[in-house]
Symmetry: C2
Subunit: 406 residues, 2 copies
């Protein structure tokens, strides 16, 4: 293996030109799965929204803005989620959407006494599930997605899982897990934050009922951009969000006395739509639309294979190991590179080598491979910088991880 | 009264120069209480946040961004809310904050069976209160703020009110109403959406416990910018939001097994802070800081007095009437101009006279007087255009209000 191999893969990459669609960075950036890079077109689109739509159009622009949550949701659904129109809406944060969806799922099974979630899931998911369980005095039962069949039963009220494990990168078998829950009469809320925009998702085909996810990772919509929510058409009429929002009202401007939830997915709106975030999502999704999610997924898997091969060949002699899992088809678009000094090596990469990975306790360098922005040469060069730092015991120049992250 | 009177008032206005701090509009804009105008400095500030902080800094910028919800909250609290540091945070939407605050207030009084809200409040407030009441099978009791003393009792669990009536403009006696509730052991959640940035608010001094409000009206932070939440220091330890958010976790990056709410106001954060919205609030609040809320309130009252005088003098012969209330000290910063053809006149103003009011059923032209952007000449000229349209029965050229808004 050598750098020329990376260069050949880049030369043959059908998505290579998309790298020029993003504002350049001075770093090798392996953290697009935490905060995706800035598309050039987003600058112009946000500028127009601010200066023309807000600045000149003022309140009159609401005639267009009011449609954005559904219009951008439909586009995101079609481009990245395998969702036919009328099932995706942009609203709130992942946290708040998880709360609304899981709360509604629980309300649909009032007699049952148990919630199921993954004890190793991202804190956002666990905390929302635990909070709702606490308020309803439900018992918590933990399982990974693969273990659901062992814990499901007639006492389970609702299930919450992430589609991609934020540490290992493992992709859940969404269709099978959903079917297992469905057979027990239970709805699963899926968090696709680490999947959307990287994995080819087929929510309609897989029979998913409820899902949400952020837009600032592989969807490149910017820091704190709003989240999306998917509610399968079949269950839309039966579920009501716990937060009764004026923007989810059937006849919003009648200012009527009672909450009458809108038909369709619009009832999942809460407050005033965050226009700048919506516009940024729309701009970023247009890039993904041009690239095509199948090609994005194919490149993500190829980058993953290449990263694992380079790590095995050149980093494993220095104490690094990858996975499990290691099969690109079973991974999202990041790899977990284990090393006892992962924390201090992450500091060295950022401060000495202009390379930005992520660190996850206890020993993971998380290498995000964002298909539209990461090149094979990035992988080669970044891992080479890491190899040199590790060979030189660069970690000795840094303090150990603070207690709070170990 | 004549136009020269308006010109003299503008010449003497100590805040007149602030009009140049905003992007010009081609309209006479009386809807700054729905969507405030665009400050020029916001363009540069958003541009830097997008191109430098996101585009170049990428995930490294979170070192600064993570402090924004509290830093901007403290500044907003000091400048506009009469709140000492450590009690205001920027998060979510008004809807979601109302839900979190009212939910926590109810949880603090588990044995009580009644909620109180205003049947004429904005739908956002009513729906959130009704939804939480429904989930807990509580009885709803309605009252205006002034009527609270007639309905309060040992059975009341929590109260929700707006500080300024979105139709009449009437300002509630926040201190007195809060004290009435407090004497019954009850917390009031105040919605200050139509007050913040226009009225001189003194949350600390008035003994307010819980409040929230939007930032896109008199605070000029842009369409769908995030909301703020105020939680009085005295009650911070006792209340936990119903939405357990990872950003509200004590030791966030420890990724620990249990939700342990952060001390202070930070526990009211839910998901990832919306960075662009935070930056837009910060830029807009800097303008208010320079103007000073006392001067802003003084100009708002003077504009209100002038608008009522012009309406009495020149519009009342054509069937218009103002208020009640009519005392500027009892009004926020908008006036309700009643006319049987208010809806169709609002259409005519927008389409024929480049003048943008708001319409509120059944018969109100809502005239927002945004102290930093509205001039006395705006009032004179806008009302003159309205007078000419009404004298010419311009409404006859428009369809009646659609059923949904009557």
């Amino acid at each position: 293996m050598d750098r020329a191999a990376a260069a050949r893969l880049d030369a043959a990459d059908p998505l290579a030109a998309f790298r020029d669609e993003f504002v350049p960075t001075d770093a090798i950036y392996f953290d697009g799965n935490s905060l995706g890079r800035l598309p050039r077109r987003t600058i112009a689109r946000l500028g127009a929204a601010v200066e023309q739509e807000w600045g000149r159009g003022l309140v009159r622009s609401w005639a267009e803005w009011v449609e954005l949550p559904e219009r951008v949701g439909d586009r995101l659904g079609r481009v990245a989620l395998g969702a036919a129109a009328g099932q995706v809406v942009i609203a709130d944060s992942t946290t708040v959407n998880l709360y609304k969806l899981f709360g509604a799922a629980l309300e649909a099974q009032p007699g049952r006494t148990v919630i199921v979630y993954d004890a190793d899931d991202f804190p956002t998911d666990r905390f929302v599930a635990m909070g709702l369980g606490h308020a309803r005095r439900l018992e918590a039962r933990t399982a990974t997605p693969a273990e659901l069949e062992n814990v499901i039963g007639a006492d389970v009220a609702a299930v919450m899982f992430s589609a991609v494990d934020y540490r290992t990168g493992e992709v859940a078998d969404i269709a099978s897990v959903t079917a297992t829950a469905r057979a027990a009469g239970v709805l699963v809320v899926w968090d696709l934050s680490h999947a959307a925009g990287a994995v080819d998702v087929h929510l309609d085909e897989w029979g998913v009922d409820l899902a949400t996810g952020c837009t600032y990772k592989y969807l490149n919509a910017g820091p704190g951009a709003p989240a999306w929510a998917y509610v399968r058409r079949d269950v839309q009429g039966a579920l009501v969000p716990p937060i009764w929002g004026w923007f989810g009202q059937q006849d919003q401007f009648a200012m009527g006395p009672r909450f009458e939830p809108a038909g369709g997915v619009r009832r999942w709106l809460s407050g005033t739509p965050p226009v700048l975030g919506l516009v940024a999502i729309d701009a970023a999704v247009s890039l993904l639309e041009e690239a095509g999610i199948q090609r994005v997924r194919a490149k993500g898997m190829a980058l993953t294979r290449f990263a694992i091969d380079v790590a095995d060949d050149r980093l494993s002699p220095l104490g690094f190991s990858v996975g499990p899992p290691r099969d690109p088809a079973r991974l999202g678009s990041h790899v977990a590179l284990h090393h006892p000094e992962a924390y201090r090596l992450s500091r060295a990469l950022i401060e000495e080598a202009a390379t930005v990975p992520d660190f996850r306790p206890p020993d993971v360098l998380r290498i995000g491979l964002s298909p539209l922005t990461t090149s094979y040469a990035d992988v080669w060069d970044g891992f080479e910088r890491l190899r040199v730092l590790a060979a030189g015991r660069a970690w000795e120049r840094y303090d150990p991880a603070p207690a709070r992250v170990t």
